[in-house]
Each structure stands twice: as C-alpha cells, then as structure tokens.
C-alpha cells in the first residue's frame, strides 16, 4: 500500500477527514485483486485498520489484549471462517463464545512446543484465520516462508505480540471499567481506546466499548479521546465494609 505515503498533514480536521475518506476509497478500488479479499470484522475496529478491513493473507499483531483479539475474530467466525489458535493456552473459551466466536469452528493447539511454526503453517493451510503467539523470536527466513504461505492460501495471521511483517498493530489504552466500585458491584462493561498503528500512516485511535454490557463491541460516542485521564471505575460509592 504505497499510496498511503501521500497522506499529508493538512491543517483543519474536516479537510483531513475528506482526504482520508478519499484515500480509503482509492484503497478499496485498488484492493479488488483476488489475493486481498476482505474478511468481515467488527465495523468499529475495521474502521481503524488500514484499508478499512481485515485482509486475507495479511498478518496483524495484537498486543496485551485477548478481548480485542476476540472482538476481531468474532464476525469472521460467525460468518463461517475456521479459526485456529496456536500456543495460547489461556484463551478464554467462554468469553470467545460470548463475543460470538463459533466454538464448532475453533481449534486450539495450546502447547505446540518448539514446533509452533510447523503447526502454525499446517493450520494456516486450511483455516481462514490463525492466531499464534511466537514462543521465541522466529528467524527471518521462516517468517518470510510463512508470509508467502499466508498470501498463497489467503489466510489471515493474528499474532499476539510483535511481528515484523504485520499490516497493523492493535493495542489498548486507558481501560475504564464500569460496574465495579471499591468493594462492591462487579465488572460489567469497559471502555478502552484502541490504537491501530500501521507502517503506512499515523496511528488511528478510537474509544470503544470493549465490551459493553451485552458483549457487543461498539463505539463509545463520538467524543475525541486524547490522553485525558479517564476514570478507572465509573461507579464510585462510599466504601462500607466491615473490617
């Protein structure tokens, strides 16, 4: 995606939006090739991704958030894509089902050991999305081979952690939980800022419900979120506790 290089820093925000929209349209027109079809993803997150969608045959990396990973996986899985999760023994199945991942089309290989690259490649051959966490740094050669295989098969790779050839990196910031106070309530929903940084262009961020009280991932209003210190807990009641 070399056309992102022309993303200029225009002054007013309105113009900036217009330019971005035009760029998006150009990208969409360009990406009608067979090898870069899109996977349906949560629209709130897809908006932040380069190209406006999760692309087949590309790699993405997600840092420090399994919830964000599940929010990414749920719509393609519900639409019939098989998902393989390699080397993530702590993948929370109940949360996955709650987000809408179809457990019938989910296969887990929690402990691939030192064969994780071979296992990832074998699963990438047949499944639409592979999630993996590299246990150690992979060699450049093996990464390139895997990338070629992904492109050829049209498989999307989502890496938990950093990955040299990733299309975009998704991270979370400023989580604020709703429903829990100091000694009362329980976790019900959370707002967090999702930051998507890609090699092409500056990081995009959005404030999302991740999840809201009904396991939905959606935008939390339109207010721009900068580095404002959001309250960690929205409900604050006086502490009443018998010591």
């Amino acid at each position: 995606m070399s056309n992102a290089a022309i993303a200029p820093e225009l002054g007013p925000t309105g113009q900036n939006e217009l330019v971005r929209e035009l760029q998006d349209r150009i990208r969409k027109l360009q990406s009608t090739k067979l090898d870069s079809r899109d996977l349906p993803t949560n629209p709130a997150i897809a908006r932040l991704l380069p190209g406006g969608a999760l692309k087949q045959g590309s790699a993405y990396s997600v840092e420090r958030s399994a919830t964000l990973l599940m929010a990414l996986l749920a719509p393609p899985s519900a639409a019939g894509t098989w998902v393989g999760v390699v080397g993530v023994p702590e993948f929370g199945v109940e949360a996955a089902a709650g987000f809408g991942i179809d457990l019938d089309r989910l296969a887990l290989v929690p402990h691939p050991g030192d064969q994780w690259l071979a296992v990832t490649a074998a699963i990438a051959d047949v499944m639409g999305i592979v999630v993996t966490r590299p246990p150690q740094k992979a060699s450049d050669g093996s990464i390139a081979r895997l990338a070629a295989r992904l492109r050829q098969r049209g498989t999307t790779l989502i890496v938990l952690g950093s990955w040299p050839q990733s299309e975009a990196m998704l991270t979370l910031e400023e989580s604020s939980w709703v429903g829990i106070g100091e000694g009362h309530g329980h976790l019900t929903a959370r707002q967090a800022t999702v930051i998507v940084s890609s090699s092409t262009g500056r990081p995009r961020r959005a404030r999302l419900w991740l999840p809201d009280a009904g396991y939905q991932v959606r935008e939390a209003g339109m207010r721009p979120v900068d580095t404002a210190d959001a309250p960690v807990a929205d409900i604050r009641a006086p502490r009443t506790w018998r010591a």
């Binding site: 949360a95 989910l106 699963i123 939980w177 100091e182 807990a233 502490r239």
Partner: protein, 520 residues
C-alpha cells in the same frame, strides 16, 4: 369358558425357558474379573439392585439402602448396576444356545425362551432337551441356571423359579392353571393390581383366575384382563425367535507378538478396512469403537473411542495407535501386542450419516490438517472447546481432543449458582498464577472463615511489578464439593482493577492468592 382377549385356536405353545438367577451379579463378576464367591452388590440409585449369594447370606437383599447393606456386610464389593454390561454379558449365552437349538428369544438379560417342540423331538423328550440346554450353559461357566418347561412363557418362568432342588421344572401340557393356582398374586408384577386384589381377599392366582373374565375386563381394563389370562395359564405370547446379529467385531492376532507401535498400526490396517467394510455392507456406520489390545503376557488394555460423526478405517487405525501410545508419542511398548480386537460399541444407520450435497461436518481438509498436527504433537495437543458447567472460569472450559465427542464432566445446563456474571474473562490461566494483594498497611489481605475481609486491598503485586488497586469487588465465597475431600475447594473470589486498567479475577484459597483469569 369365554376368553375375552384370546382368540380361539391360539392355545399357548410349549415353551422352554432358561433362567440364570442373579444374572446381573454373574455379569458383573465376568466383566470385572472378580472372584465367583465375592460378596458383591450392584447399586442403582442408592439401593441394592442385585447381590451375590454370599452377600445375601450376610443379610444383603434387593432394595436395601447402600449404607445399610455396607453395615450388614462390611467387606461388600459395591459396583454400579449397568444394564448394558448386563445385556452384553448375556450375549455369549444366547449364541451358545443358538448353536444347540434354534430360535431363542431373549426376554431380558438372564432370561430367554425357546420354543420347546423342536428340541423335544430332536433330543427325544422335553427333559432330555432341557438337560442338553443346561449342559451347554454350564459349559460357559454360568452356575445354577434353571429351566422351566410349560405352556406359555409366564408359566414356564414360574416353573423355572419354583423352589425345588431339581434344576428342571416341567409342567405337563394343560396343567398350567393347576400349577399356577397356589402361587401368590404378587408374582404378577403389577403392584397396584396385586395390592387391590389382596384387599379384595384374592390371594392366589387360582382365586384370581376363578373370577369371571368379563368382570375382570370391566373392572381392570385390558392390562388386568391380560394378567387374568396369565393367572389362568393362558399365556398367549408366542416365542419370537431373535434374528442372530451379524458378527461385526474384527480381530487380528500377531504371531510373533509385535513390540512397536508403528508395526501394530500397520498390521491392523487391513483389519480396520475389513471392519469398516463389513459395517458398510450391513448399511451401518460406527460412531463408537471399543479397542481391545491384548499383550503377549496377557494384559488387556481396553478403551472406548467416540467419534463426532462416524469412523473411517484410517481413523480406527489412528485410535489403535493412540491407545498404544497411551498419551505419549514414544513408539516403544511395555509388552509386545499379540491381539487387537475392534468392537463397534455404537452403530447407526448409514442413512443418518450420509453427507449432504455440499458436505456436512467439518471440511475434510481441516480434518486432515488437524490430524496431521495430532500426529506431530500427540492426540491431546489439538483441542476443540465447549462450554461446560462449573463456577470457576477454568472449570467452565471443556476441551476435547480433536476427533472425540464432547462429554461434559459437569452439566452445562444446570444453573451453577455462584458462577461469575458476564462478561467472562478473555484470558484464563491454567494453572492459576501466584499473585499477592496487600492492604494499605502493607499486610497481606486475608479473609476469615465467615467471609470478612481483614483490610481493603490497596496494591497488587505479581512477580516484580506492583500496581495500585483502582477498584475491587468481593470476596465471593465459594465452598464447592465439601463432601469430597479430594475435590473440595473453599475459595474467596475477587474482581480487581489495577491502575493500568487491567481487571483480574483473583482467588484466595488457604491464605494464598492466585490470579485465575484476566480481563484484558
């Protein structure tokens, strides 16, 4: 005399009935390889269903509560009653009888009926035929079985059960009513009817049979009328011989015994092919297979493998290999294998398993790829998840090896009070990780027996990093399975949000803090 339900001309035929007393016990002894004189009781829903003669001598009897039975006979061997085991163990008996005389009708495990006319002519007399039958059954090691010969199945069973030293009870043709007359009505096996009859002053079958048939029909309906004709020795049930089932088991003997997994797996391939082909020929598919491996020194390894759809030959070979490996990926065996037996445990009509036009179940390609990963890492390395029952997030994850059917350890449909409210944590640590929670005073936070918190948590520290606690909730006490000392757990759960915005599910058990899951 008028006979309301029995059309004229269908006089009861002569029936030879074999009764093996205490069959469930014999079946359990044969299945579990117990000593024949063991004091054994089979338990169904907390009560004794059947017990061996030696246990009966100690005062154990049917219908007794388990605890009462154990009090009467402290060294009682207790096994759960399993009807399928019972029926399966009776199968060799039926097969042996079919070799000697044709047309066996299994009535229930331990009891079967044979039309006696043919055998009586062949062996010379009814008594001679019964002796032959007992010889055959004794040769199988079934002790003290008895034979009754009479008009109709009901009368024949009463003849077999009649308390007399001889093992053969013969009621001559036409004497059924006379034979049955002195027996109590309670043998009719209909509690409501027999209770009512006793209150009406009818104590014996003879008295019951003497009642007018029309009145019995009016008062007790068709079921009562049927029992009335049974009591009169007019059992209209014919003996319907079973169709002997096809032999679907397959086995192969290795001579000399093989001591490598791959050798056995290769050797069993043709047998597996034949096994699946014979099933397909009878328009059946196998959904559960029992693999028996017999080693050269007589050890028997037996395991039942379930399949989410139906087995192919290659998958059967895989199951044999996995069973040989016993979870490890090594190729050596503790003892060379002399015999492999494949028994279809559950079969289904092939019509129910035909693939749809666009295929059903997971894609073949996915199955191949995952099977390949299984061959690289071992069978239990590739898992399919399901949501099970339970309270802790780790308990609620049911992980099943790829290719197996989901069997829930804890019922997912139950309400599970005390489980965590939604949303579920996205990261579930298995096993939990150690973590420490400190109060503002610097002391570790503790919970007393009544669920009282010593001090509110202020900081949480995992490994080298320490974070301020921004919000917390709990403790939620969960006291699970207190009746089982091995599985009991008494845990206080907390939800806790640290200063970086990550929420944790923590548990405090016996003074140790654990991070069970993370909401990240």
């Amino acid at each position: 005399m008028k006979q309301p339900i029995q059309p004229p001309g269908t006089a009861p035929e002569r029936v030879m009935l074999l009764w093996c007393p205490d069959w469930p016990v014999i079946a359990a002894i044969r299945t579990h390889g117990l000593k024949p004189d063991a004091r054994i009781a089979l338990i169904e829903s907390g009560r004794v269903y059947a017990c061996s003669g030696s246990a009966r001598a100690e005062g154990v009897k049917r219908g007794l509560k388990l605890r009462e039975a154990q009090a009467r006979c402290p060294d009682l061997i207790v096994q759960p009653y399993r009807a399928d085991e019972d029926a399966r163990a009776f199968e060799p008996v039926l097969t042996a009888i079919e070799e000697a005389m044709p047309g066996v009708q299994p009535l229930r495990p331990g009891v079967c009926a044979i039309r006696s006319r043919g055998p009586a002519q062949f062996y010379g007399s009814e008594e001679e035929a019964a002796l032959w039958l007992l010889d055959h059954v004794d040769a199988l090691g079934v002790p003290a079985s008895r034979v009754g010969i009479a008009d109709g199945v009901f009368t024949a069973e009463q003849a077999a059960r009649s308390p007399q030293p001889q093992r053969i009870g013969i009621v001559p043709a036409g004497d059924a009513a006379t034979f049955l007359a002195p027996l109590p009505v309670s043998i009719l096996d209909d509690l409501a009817l027999t209770g009512l009859l006793r209150r009406l002053g009818v104590y014996t079958l003879g008295e019951f049979a003497a009642l007018p048939a029309e009145l019995v029909l009016d008062r007790f309906g068709d079921p009562g009328a049927r029992l009335h004709s049974l009591a009169g020795g007019r059992d209209s049930r014919p003996v319907i011989a079973r169709v002997p089932p096809d032999e679907l088991d397959a086995s192969i003997d290795f001579e000399p015994p093989l001591d490598r997994v791959d050798q056995v797996a290769f050797g069993v391939r043709a047998t597996a092919d034949a096994f699946i082909r014979s099933l397909t020929d009878t328009k059946l598919v196998c959904t559960a297979v029992l693999v028996q491996l017999e080693s050269a020194n007589g050890e028997l390894s037996e395991r039942s493998w379930l399949h989410p759809r139906s087995f192919t030959a290659a998958e059967v070979v895989d199951r044999v290999r996995w069973q040989l490996q016993g979870g490890s990926t090594e190729t050596g065996l503790s003892a060379p294998i002399g015999r492999v037996r494949l028994i279809p445990e559950a079969i289904d009509s092939i019509g129910n398993h035909e693939e749809g036009l666009w295929g059903s179940g997971p894609d073949e390609r996915i199955h191949h790829a995952l099977s390949r990963v299984q061959s690289m890492l071992g069978r239990t390395a590739v898992l399919t998840p399901a949501i099970g029952g339970g309270r802790a997030p780790a308990d609620r994850m049911t992980l099943v090896p790829w290719g197996d059917r989901v069997l829930h350890e804890r019922e997912p449909d139950r309400p599970w009070p005390g489980r965590l409210p939604d949303p579920a944590p996205a990261t579930v640590f298995e096993p939990p990780r150690p973590i420490t929670v400190f109060a503002a005073s610097g002391a570790e936070v503790a919970v007393d027996d009544r669920g009282g918190l010593s001090e509110p948590p202020a900081t949480v520290s995992a490994g080298s990093s320490t974070l301020r606690v921004a919000a917390w909730a709990g403790p939620w006490m969960v006291d699970e399975r207190w009746w089982d000392p091995d599985a009991a757990s008494r845990v206080s759960r907390f939800q806790l949000v640290d200063a970086s915005g990550v929420a944790w599910l923590l548990s405090l058990e016996h003074g140790h803090w654990w991070a069970e899951a993370r909401y990240d």
